[in-house]
């Protein structure tokens, strides 16, 4: 069974403490992504880390800010550099304006594929260019973004084939027509089913569906079933 959990931002926008608390008592959750998607959230989150109770989570990552509005690139980098070394730092490629700076993170730097609102990191060829610039970086495959770019999931499959050895985390949600993260719908599940068998067994699953607390169990069940069904089919075959 893959480690599974939510992004704190999906459950409580801008409130990592609540996003964590909502997951702590859910028995099957053993992974979490701490979200600081807006840069003003980052200093508070980094400052709180020594006191955070993360004992229930086997896997922890941190999502770096997607835009710089109150901090500059160097300030964000310095804050991220102090994080525990075992935590992947999930980054949108547009943040990386000074490559030499970010290369210092080595494997801790984890590049996420993007949706169509962005200008880089969306396709296989754009990711290839990025990994040439950041050869040690790891990879976070956002299935929803990949499906928005290519609904057939051929691109996701090719990303898994080409960058599978870099993969450290999977983002899961449906992505709406305006880029919003939604609970998984029926057609999205069918599309994802084409590629989930290519995801390595121990790859952590981070759910980004924006949902209220009472829907946590249902969304967990939906995602778990998607992976379990495919795993069972593979076992039978």
């Amino acid at each position: 069974m893959k480690p599974i959990g939510f992004s704190t931002g999906a459950l409580a926008k801008g409130d990592f403490a609540t996003g964590l608390a909502l997951q702590r008592d859910v028995s099957r959750i053993d992974a979490v992504e701490l979200s600081a998607l807006r840069d003003h959230e980052l200093p508070g989150l980094v400052g709180a880390i020594p006191d955070l109770d993360l004992a229930d989570f086997d896997y922890v990552s941190l999502h770096a800010p997607s835009k710089l509005q109150t901090l500059d690139e160097h300030a964000v980098f310095e804050l991220l550099l102090g994080l525990p070394e075992a935590w992947p730092i999930i980054v949108h490629p547009e943040l990386l304006q000074t490559p030499s700076l970010w290369r210092q993170l080595g494997r801790r730097l984890c590049l996420e594929n993007m949706d169509d609102r962005k200008t880089m990191g969306r396709t296989i060829s754009e990711l290839r260019t990025l990994f040439e610039a950041f050869p040690e970086a790891t990879f976070c495959l956002d299935l929803g973004h990949a499906r928005q770019i290519d609904p057939t999931m051929a691109s996701a499959m090719l990303m898994l084939r080409e960058f599978g050895d870099r993969l450290v985390e999977l983002h899961i949600s449906e992505v709406g027509s305006h880029g919003e993260h939604l609970p998984l719908g029926a057609t999205t599940r069918q599309a994802f089913a084409r590629v989930v068998h290519l995801v390595p067994a121990q790859c952590p699953l981070i759910i980004e569906s924006i949902i209220s607390a009472e829907l946590i169990e249902r969304e967990l069940e939906t995602v778990s079933m998607l992976f379990d069904t495919v795993a069972q089919q593979a076992a039978i075959a």
Binding site: D116, R122, Q148, I149, P151, T152, A154, M157, L158, R194
Partner: protein
């Protein structure tokens, strides 16, 4: 990047100035149009051109066959957006688009993806679908164009499969796509006759010439795209573990051909065939076709020539002769020379 066309031109010590001029002119017009429309970005829409701009063959008399391709929730604002696009396109390319209504309007991806063949497909929908695949270029938001193309190809490749053969060999040529490509070619030829009838032969000359060159070229592109799994496949296509991955990769391979202008794709195969006689039949002929279209006087005469006077009209008469060379080259390529194509065309071309 060096193109196959440029490589061939160099190898044959030839000069195809009209092809190069048309490509450069296309790039310039597409650049102007893209800039003019850049502030009309919408996440679910793409302004797409087909026709000569899509094939990189624009000449002085070319129009801009554009559509507003919508792949997302419908919105009444799309109509206002389409009007604004029309105004801006006309300011750069004043020539009116054709009278059929196929271009210069909103096109929803739903019909392109869901109405393939069957009773709800129409001549207009077939035309838009095949032109989107074979000769389209995005002026805005190329991701939307690519996404719709991927969904159309999914219908042809992922959702239409033959019963697996006893040998275990997978179906490399998607029959549904191939049949639609052939159907479109025959539709173009039949529509030529229909327009002769409906329009009392008005404008027949230029339509006849286009049928002999650019329409035939589109058909060649369609055949090559449908045969892509045999012609252009990387080794890993045949090494994938399961059928699902195989067909996803095949669809992706065909998708990548939709970014290659038809003349360039043909040049790649001619280059591979290594037969200079074929190259000398095809490309100088096509260069001459574009050269005549780029001459406003000759183009006007092609547009106005009466059917009865056809062979007395120098521009038409010459292009008719040149088209026979073009046809000879394409026919030899597909039927006689290219080792894979002649097998593919024999196995899939007719029966």
């Amino acid at each position: 990047m060096t193109t196959a066309l440029a490589t061939l031109e160099r190898r044959l010590e030839a000069n195809w100035p009209a092809i190069r001029a048309a490509r450069d002119r296309t790039d310039a017009i597409v650049g102007h149009l893209s800039s003019a429309l850049s502030d009309l970005h919408d996440a679910n829409c793409s302004v797409v051109v087909t026709g000569s701009l899509g094939r990189a063959e624009a000449t002085e008399g070319s129009d801009a066959d554009w559509v507003l391709l919508v792949d997302g929730p419908s919105d009444p604002e799309h109509a206002m957006l389409a009007r604004e696009i029309e105004n801006r396109v006309r300011a750069i390319v004043p020539k009116e688009v054709g009278p059929t209504g196929t271009f210069g309007s909103i096109v929803a991806s739903h019909e392109l993806v869901h109405y393939i063949a069957g009773t709800r497909d129409s001549n207009e929908n077939l035309t838009r679908r095949i032109l989107l695949l074979s000769e389209s270029r995005a002026l805005t938001n190329p991701m939307v164009r690519e996404r719709v193309i991927r969904n159309v190809l999914a219908r042809y490749v992922l959702y239409d499969r033959s019963v697996r053969s006893r040998s275990g060999r997978r179906q490399v040529v998607p029959h549904f796509l191939l049949n639609d490509v052939v159907r479109y070619w025959r539709t173009m030829a039949s529509d030529y006759a229909s327009k002769m009838w409906e329009r009392s032969r008005r404008g027949w000359g230029i339509r006849n010439v286009k049928l002999r060159f650019s329409r035939k070229l589109l058909f060649a592109w369609g055949l090559l795209a449908a045969f892509a799994g045999e012609l252009f496949a990387p080794a890993e296509l045949h090494q994938v573990e399961n059928d699902e991955q195989f067909y996803l990769m095949l669809a992706d391979l065909i998708r990548s051909q939709t970014d290659v202008p038809p003349l360039e794709l043909l040049a790649r195969v001619v280059l591979e065939a290594g037969d200079d006689d074929i190259a000398n039949d095809i490309f100088p002929s096509y260069d001459r076709f574009l050269n005549v279209l780029a001459d406003p006087e000759a183009r006007a005469r092609l547009d106005a020539v009466r059917f009865e006077d056809a062979l007395d009209e120098p521009a038409y008469s010459e292009l008719r002769d040149v088209s026979q060379r073009f046809r000879r080259g394409v026919t030899r390529l597909f039927f006689d020379v290219h080792p894979k194509l002649k097998m593919l065309i024999r196995d899939f071309g007719v029966f």
